[in-house]
């Protein structure tokens, strides 16, 4: 099923996405460099699927998610959402597209305006984008609260009166208000404790089935991504190093970084935990403002070759539906 995605409609298409943040330095604050938070990333998201994005802290996952929704002005690349190119659209035109694409944020406390009641937070997009009457709006807010499992009596309370899990439900209800097709979930469970994580992830899955949503699910929790995602993209230092269907990726990771990442997942069985053959990476992630020449991973790769230090590997399809950016596979292909 997951490999057979070619006949499904592409809802979001990202190609060559770059998001650089300029660094200013010196006495005159000249432009001295860029933090290459997202550096030439391409992927498609099919309608109704969940694309997981994993990677360690600072690899550009969140920036990528925000850039896809044009919460930043892109440095380069195109983003097509539902057939519209939004990559260079002005903020005014973008506003009209916003109902199609929404976002659930990482920190459920900070992302809610502390001075607005729950009903105002959820209802505000309706005021802005629809012409519902006050009563209709209230009914819609109640429907949304039912959908995410919040008691209707809470409508006039303020965000600080809720627990983390409830706040995240508010954030989800808020995102759902305008019937979006595409939702970027930016580490929606990272700030919650484990029992609540399961609730929120199940809620997201239920809502996906009910409303036919498409998710870009950003997380550093590999097990959770394995649970929710249909396909998984692995990011390292601003680039996608591997993009593959979930089962294939977890069973047979191709890229050395993916292999190292997956071997770091804790093993619940203490015996296998101690004997597990882990790939432990040496050194730190290079600075995204000064990435190494050649492959970004060449400084830490256990299987580094000479070519890796000179040439940036191309992101290519090595098996149907499986994309890897690594010279190991370029060579095996030319050899075979």
């Amino acid at each position: 099923m997951f490999d057979n995605t070619t006949d499904r409609r592409v809802l979001v298409s990202v190609s060559g996405l770059k998001m650089y943040f300029p660094i200013f330095g010196g006495i005159l604050s000249r432009h001295v460099g860029d933090v290459k938070a997202v550096d030439d990333v391409s992927f498609d998201i099919y309608e109704g699927e969940t694309l997981g994005v994993v990677g360690e802290s600072g690899c550009g996952k969140s920036t990528c998610g925000r850039a896809v929704l044009r919460l930043y002005d892109l440095t380069a690349g195109t983003v097509m959402v539902d057939g519209t190119d939004i990559s260079t659209m002005g903020q005014g035109a973008l506003r009209k597209i916003r109902p199609v694409m929404q976002m659930v944020f990482q920190d459920p406390q900070a992302c809610l305006n502390p001075r607005m009641s729950l009903a105002d937070i959820i209802g505000e997009p309706l005021v802005e984008h629809t012409r519902l009457s006050k009563a209709e709006r209230r009914d819609r807010v109640y429907d949304l609260m039912d959908a995410v499992g919040l008691n209707r009596d809470f409508a006039n309370r303020y965000p600080h009166e809720f627990s983390g899990g409830q706040r995240q439900r508010i954030g989800i209800a808020r995102a759902l208000a305008l019937n979006p097709k595409f939702i970027v979930c930016d580490e929606p469970i990272a700030a919650l404790d484990v029992s609540i994580q399961a609730q929120v992830v199940n809620l997201l899955e239920d809502l996906q089935k009910e409303f036919g949503l498409t998710y870009l699910f950003i997380s550093h929790d590999l097990s959770m991504v394995r649970h929710i995602a249909d396909r998984v993209a692995v990011m390292y230092l601003g680039k996608i190093v591997e993009l593959a269907p979930r089962e294939g990726l977890y069973r047979d990771p191709k890229h050395p970084y993916t292999q190292a990442l997956l071997s770091a997942v804790p093993e619940p069985d203490p015996v296998t935990h101690d004997t597990a053959n882990r790939t432990v990476l040496k050194g730190d992630v290079p600075s995204p403002s000064n990435p190494p020449t050649g492959c970004n991973f060449c400084t830490r790769c256990p299987r580094v070759m000479e070519i890796c230090r000179q040439q940036d590997p191309e992101f290519r399809e090595v098996e149907p539906g499986r994309f890897v950016a690594c010279h190991l596979f370029n060579e095996s292909e030319t050899a075979g």
């Binding site: 925000r66 929704l69 919460l71 903020q91 973008l94 506003r95 009209k96 597209i97 916003r98 109902p99 929404q102 976002m103 944020f105 990482q106 920190d107 900070a110 992302c111 809610l112 305006n113 502390p114 001075r115 009641s117 505000e124 997009p125 802005e128 984008h129 303020y158 600080h160 954030g171 808020r174 305008l178």
Partner: protein, 336 residues
């Protein structure tokens, strides 16, 4: 909130009594002498008689209790009689009498209050009205030319003392250009359009000097508070909702940023009543600041004591008002 307010008001009573005692003791310990400015040819016995006639020969606790009775019992009763027209047999009630003018201190304050409120109060309002937009725009366009210029000017306005800026504007606008009078005429009465114009003209210079300081202070607060809020996640949420930029900034960010700024504004109000001592002196505004300086110079202890105590009451009162406002504006803060 109501119980909180009442509790705080009750707690204010011992606080204020203690403050009045401290003021009284400080004034008594100060080496000021009401006969100090009299000619040196007056013999010591006569000086002692003068002191006795002022009540200075009584022990300190008697004088303090007498002042308490005069200020807290006699004056309110007099006011009450004055307002209602009832006769409560007040002929033999002693009032707080100024040693300099031999007239009741409360009457003098009532005479001087309008000048101060007109000039300092207007400056306060003008200052706030200029400060808020500057602070908001500076923060929104952080590090822009406007922000740099605004930050510089507010720094200058904050650092230049009014005895310099006051004289400077007098030299420029009153002496060189001769647009406005350099001295504020307290006896001027507003009866028709022309006299209103004259009143406004004579107010402009002192208001300008005071407003510069107030603007500098409050616009910096506003800017800092805006910057705090602009980087919050809920602002990104608001943008992701597809709200217009003006709604994002003016509804979401400004409302949240106003919470600390309103507190600062409320805490600044007692200074309005306190008058701007130096500015009133420079422009000869016959207000409370002017009165206080004169009373201090003349060793007029009842006037100084009463004025200082009224300022203390206002400060305690506006602290309470700021706390209550905080509770109203910020739903996260509840006092019950």
């Amino acid at each position: 909130m109501l119980t909180f307010t009442i509790r705080r008001l009750l707690m204010a009573i011992p606080t204020l009594l203690f403050i009045s005692l401290i003021i009284f003791l400080i004034l008594d310990l100060a080496p000021s002498d009401p006969t100090g400015s009299l000619p040196l040819t007056i013999p010591p016995e006569v000086r002692a008689d003068i002191r006795a006639s002022l009540g200075l020969d009584e022990p300190i606790h008697i004088r303090f209790l007498l002042w308490l009775q005069q200020f807290f019992v006699n004056e309110p009763l007099n006011l009450f009689e004055h307002w209602t027209g009832w006769d409560l047999g007040g002929e033999d009630r002693t009032r707080v009498i100024s040693w300099q003018t031999r007239s009741p201190v409360v009457d003098i304050i009532a005479e001087r209050m309008p000048q101060t409120l007109w000039v300092v109060g207007t400056a306060y309002i003008v200052g706030i009205l200029i400060a808020l937009p500057i602070g908001i725009y500076s923060a929104y366009k952080q590090y822009s030319v406007f922000d740099q210029a605004g930050t510089f000017i507010t720094m200058v306005g904050f650092s230049i003392p009014p005895f310099f800026s006051g004289v400077l504007v007098i030299v420029i606008f009153a002496v060189q250009l001769q647009w406005f009078p350099s001295v504020y005429d307290t006896t001027h009465e507003v009866t028709d359009w022309d006299s209103l114009v004259i009143q406004l003209k004579q107010m402009i210079l002192p208001v300008m000097v005071l407003a510069l300081q107030i603007t500098s202070q409050i616009s910096r607060f506003m800017r800092a508070s805006m910057l705090d809020n602009l980087s919050q996640d809920y602002v990104r949420t608001a943008r992701a909702k597809g709200l217009t930029e003006s709604v994002v900034v003016l509804v979401h960010v400004v409302r949240n940023s106003m919470i600390p700024v309103i507190t600062v504004i409320a805490l600044g109000v007692p200074q309005v009543f306190g008058g701007a001592i130096i500015t009133e002196q420079v422009f000869k505004v016959n207000g409370l600041g002017h009165l206080l300086i004169g009373a201090i110079q003349g060793g007029d202890i009842p006037t100084v004591q009463t004025l200082t105590f009224i300022f203390a009451v206002l400060i305690v009162l506006f602290n309470l008002i700021a706390d209550v406002l905080y509770g109203i504006l910020d739903p996260r803060i509840r006092y019950d």
